[in-house]
């Protein structure tokens, strides 16, 4: 099968997200799509999948011009897609999510649940996933959810498969598995479009590479091109891919976590006697496969984890048992793992988001009266210094691309007087240019003499950014090692094999 996009143009109001884009996906080929955050990659794929209607151009399928009125028609034509934002119903089980849209039924339209389970098991087996078909999707860690998405795309036996940033939330092992699967599919003769920000992956699997910037195709690249070349093609300038940091200037251990133990609502232990200390001027990375208690650790520090015991001390002051407000006021900067859910109010403007945790105090409020002028000055300054790409400080957060949203959160959290910075997966889903910037900001925070705790699933990020790396497994810290530790060793720790 050969799928051709010719001169696709898509506008949102006055804004042109795709401008005359051409793209070809051919059987037995993996075509990588590269571009910085907001370049228009997802938009193009959504047009291809019938979710958006193009304002210009055409889709040609095996030589025939085709119009998809909706995803249903695209599916029928043999197109499957793994969406960047999960298209999963959180309250449904894995099996229900997988069969949605093409449900096996018994008489009278009753669902054949056994058959659905069977289907999930079959696919899981074929691609080496281990997924309980009866688990409720919302309870699953995002990595597992991503697998469910992939199963959904595979089950329909599509000839063209679109993967929109599936690896942003996968662990390195999971990523490797997925690439294996993609190769397998390619060998079966499917056409694959693969979007990712991780150049290592591109170089590994791509047959063809198309780079788009600001809604336009800027050119083709070869898998053999260097990462630096790809990066600068995407961003339009030179990018330094290594984290540029001085050796740490360590101070006293002002942040101490001791014997932290927590239980989930269901009563299982999610944190098991976790203890560590972080010194001023040090980046302490917590690595590990997602779902091993990192979220709970971060939430315990912030004060929203229930049923937790032990001690968390910042400069001698106990944080455990305090309200969130109190913790934040003690000088904790907190970058949540899920920025859209916890970090931002999507319907607020950039300016409003910048005072989310300080709206009731100077300089943003005098008594209860907001000081909007001060806020706007502040926002203008941050927009510039953090290079937040938006029309103005009055743009709604939801209109920003993922990378720029993350910058808003960082700008807010880093501009307080911090005594501790806790950031979960600060660069998830960001393009190389934005990652570079975010890393610089984190290192700068460290260099200002505060302890920094980073929760990372990316090994590269963990080793490049960290001064020390702790690995969590099943709620425990199984080892604290230097960032120079070889990858394999770290991988073993993450799999629960103690050093």
């Amino acid at each position: 099968m050969r799928l051709e996009l010719k001169g696709i143009t898509k506008k949102f109001g006055d804004f042109t997200a795709n401008d005359q884009i051409d793209l070809v996906a051919e059987s037995g080929e993996i075509h990588c799509l590269l571009g910085e955050n907001g370049a228009g990659k997802s938009t193009l794929m959504n047009v291809l999948y019938g979710l958006y209607q193009a304002d210009g151009g055409e889709i040609v399928l095996d030589g025939k011009p085709t119009v998809f009125a909706g995803p249903g028609e695209a599916m029928k034509a043999g197109i499957g897609m793994v969406h960047q934002h999960f298209m999963l119903i959180p309250v449904f089980t894995v099996a229900e999510n997988v069969i949605l849209g093409h449900e096996p039924t018994k008489a009278l339209g009753f669902l054949d649940v056994d058959k659905a389970r069977e289907l999930v098991r079959e696919i899981s087996e074929r691609f080496g996933f281990d997924i309980d078909p009866d688990a409720v999707v919302g309870d699953l860690p995002v990595g597992v959810q991503q697998r469910v998405e992939i199963i959904k795309a595979l089950i329909s036996d599509a000839q063209v498969l679109i993967f929109d940033e599936p690896t942003a939330v996968l662990t390195p092992q999971e990523t490797d598995e997925l690439m294996q699967i993609m190769r397998q599919l390619k060998d079966e003769g499917k056409a694959i479009v693969f979007i990712t920000h991780k150049l290592r992956e591109v170089k590994e699997v791509a047959d063809k590479i198309t780079v788009i910037r600001l809604g336009k195709v800027v050119g083709q690249a070869k898998p053999s091109d260097s990462s630096e070349q790809l990066a600068s093609m995407m961003v339009g300038r030179e990018v330094d891919l290594s984290v540029d940091k001085q050796p740490a200037q360590l101070g006293e251990a002002s942040f101490q976590v001791k014997n932290l133990t927590a239980f989930s609502a269901q009563g299982s232990k999610v944190l098991d006697d976790v203890s560590f200390e972080v010194q001023r001027g040090e980046i302490f990375v917590i690595a590990g496969v997602q779902g091993n208690g990192q979220t709970e650790l971060a939430e315990s520090i912030l004060g929203i984890q229930d049923k937790v015991s032990g001690s968390i001390k910042l400069e001698g002051k106990e944080l455990l048992g305090r309200s969130v407000k109190n913790v934040l006021d003690s000088g904790v900067g907190f970058v949540p793992e899920d920025r859209t859910e916890d970090g931002l109010v999507a319907d607020f403007t950039i300016a409003e988001n910048l005072m989310l945790d300080r709206s009731d105090r100077p300089p943003f409020a005098k008594g209860i009266q907001l000081q909007l002028k001060k806020l706007h000055e502040f926002a203008e300054e941050k927009l510039k210094s953090y290079d937040i790409r938006a029309q103005s400080i009055f743009s709604k957060a939801r209109q920003l691309s993922g990378g720029n949203q993350q910058k808003v959160v960082l700008a807010r959290e880093l501009s307080r007087d911090l005594k501790l910075l806790v950031a979960s997966q600060p660069t998830r889903g960001l393009d190389v240019g934005s990652i570079e910037f975010v890393h610089e900001q984190i290192v700068a925070a460290r260099d200002s003499g505060i302890p920094v705790v980073i929760i990372a699933t990316e090994l590269d990020e963990a080793t490049q950014l960290g001064d020390r790396v702790a690995v969590m497994y099943k709620g425990k810290i199984v080892g604290i090692v230097s960032p120079e530790t070889p990858r394999e060793e770290l991988g073993k720790l993450m799999a629960g094999i103690s050093a």
């Binding site: 506008k11 109001g13 006055d14 912030l302 929203i304 309200s323 969130v324 407000k325 109190n326 913790v327 934040l328 006021d329 907190f334 949540p336 859910e341 916890d342 970090g343 931002l344 109010v345 999507a346 319907d347 607020f348 409003e352 005072m355 989310l356 945790d357 709206s359 009731d360 943003f364 409020a365 209860i368 009266q369 907001l370 909007l372």
Partner: protein, 386 residues
């Protein structure tokens, strides 16, 4: 060419939508009015012999009715005195006062993500508290009146705040609780009006004595008019709510909660406390609507004190897009319909229920600009065209 553009500009703008919405719903209401009219019924009996009679009867009934609506709500050109001419507009504003106050309260809660449909009960509580202060004390006006108004605010705030408290502590759904609390408040009022707490001495009916002169909201335009100081309070509240929601840190936190509770929590906003505060502010404003009725309009407490203001307020709040100035506009629209309805009935014998029909169709049409556009074949505005 240019002129055509101007016309197009005007007709594609959002400002004309309400006008055409009102027009559309009047057409619809007109059908019912004609249907109910006796002359029309008679004339249609011999429609085929003299169709003109039916047509003129229809036109008479419909124009008569809407003329009466206009004269009853905006300007009575038939009145003998200048006073009489402007009186309808003042009546409209008098009705708009409680509806807008309660609507403001609901707008605050809707904006904050809480679906308070308990304005009805909160108005009753406000009215009871205000009436209690108005009946039980002898104080100078400058103390008594503000105290009674504040009591109304307090009553509504307590009854609303209780819902917030229940939600904050037990997670109880506010929709269910406010529906139930409306009934409880009404029953409590009915009971108390038969006890010495409120019932007037020497009175067998469930009516309180008029509240003390010193606690009343004084008339604005003098004796001939029902417009009272509540209007000023209401207008002040429009501005106050705007300030609260858009210029104060409290309102900012309310809105953050409404848009994204989990981000609000992560940012250190105290969610349970905010629930209680939102519901208290929301209930307090509805309570002031109750106070305005007891101290300004009715001057005594009756079982019907809350009328249907609490339900009207839901529509008014949402129709005004939860924006205080929008709520004011919607409140005046509802006030006008209430005020005009009476004359429509007295003058033309139009059944009162038609007003409900006209009122609801106006709201539906106003809320659905594309429908009005397609009905009247108005051009689309630019943004939508793109």
């Amino acid at each position: 060419m240019k002129q055509q553009n101007l016309v197009r500009e005007i007709f594609s703008g959002n400002a004309v939508i309400p006008i055409f919405a009102v027009l559309a719903s009047f057409l619809f209401g007109g059908i019912l009015i004609a249907f109910a009219n006796e002359e029309v019924q008679q004339a249609s009996g011999y429609f085929f012999s003299r169709p003109g009679d039916t047509i003129s009867a229809v036109l008479n009934s419909v124009f008569g009715a809407y003329d009466a609506l206009f004269r009853g709500s905006i300007f009575n050109y038939q009145a003998s005195s200048a006073e009489g001419m402007i009186k309808p507009l003042t009546e409209t504003l008098a009705y708009a006062t409680p509806i807008t106050l309660a609507g403001l309260g609901l707008a605050v809660s809707f904006r904050s993500g809480l679906f308070n449909i308990g304005a009805q009960g909160q108005i009753i509580f406000g009215a009871m508290f205000a009436a209690y202060v108005g009946l039980s004390f002898e104080l100078p006006f400058l103390i008594h009146m503000p105290m009674a108004v504040l009591a109304g605010l307090l009553g509504g705030a307590l009854w609303g705040g209780l819902v917030g408290l229940l939600k904050a502590t037990t997670g109880a759904n506010e929709v269910v609780v406010t529906i139930m609390f409306n009934y409880v408040a009404l029953l409590l009022l009915t009971y108390l009006l038969k006890t010495p707490v409120f019932q007037a001495p020497n009175q067998v009916n469930p009516i309180s004595s008029p509240v003390a002169e010193s606690s009343r909201l004084p008339g604005i335009l003098g004796d001939g008019f029902r417009l009272h100081f509540g209007l000023i309070i209401m207008l002040a509240m429009v501005v106050a709510v705007w300030w609260l929601m858009h210029r104060s840190s409290i309102g900012y936190q309310f809105r953050a909660l409404g848009y994204n509770p989990s981000a609000a929590r992560t940012a250190g906003i105290n969610i349970p406390l905010t629930y209680i505060l939102v519901m208290a502010v929301s209930g307090g404003l509805a309570g002031m609507a109750g106070a305005s009725q007891v101290l300004g309009a009715d001057r005594q407490l009756t079982v019907g004190i809350s009328a249907t203001f609490g339900f009207d307020a839901i529509t008014v709040a949402l129709l005004g897009r939860n924006n205080p100035f929008g709520v004011l506009a919607a409140g005046i629209l509802f006030g006008g319909l209430r005020s005009g309805a009476v004359l429509m009935q007295a003058n033309q014998g139009v059944p009162v229920d038609i007003v409900l029909v006209v009122q609801s169709t106006i709201v539906l049409f106003i809320a659905a600009p594309p429908l009005v556009r397609s009905l009247f074949r108005l051009p689309k505005p630019k943004a939508v065209q793109a």
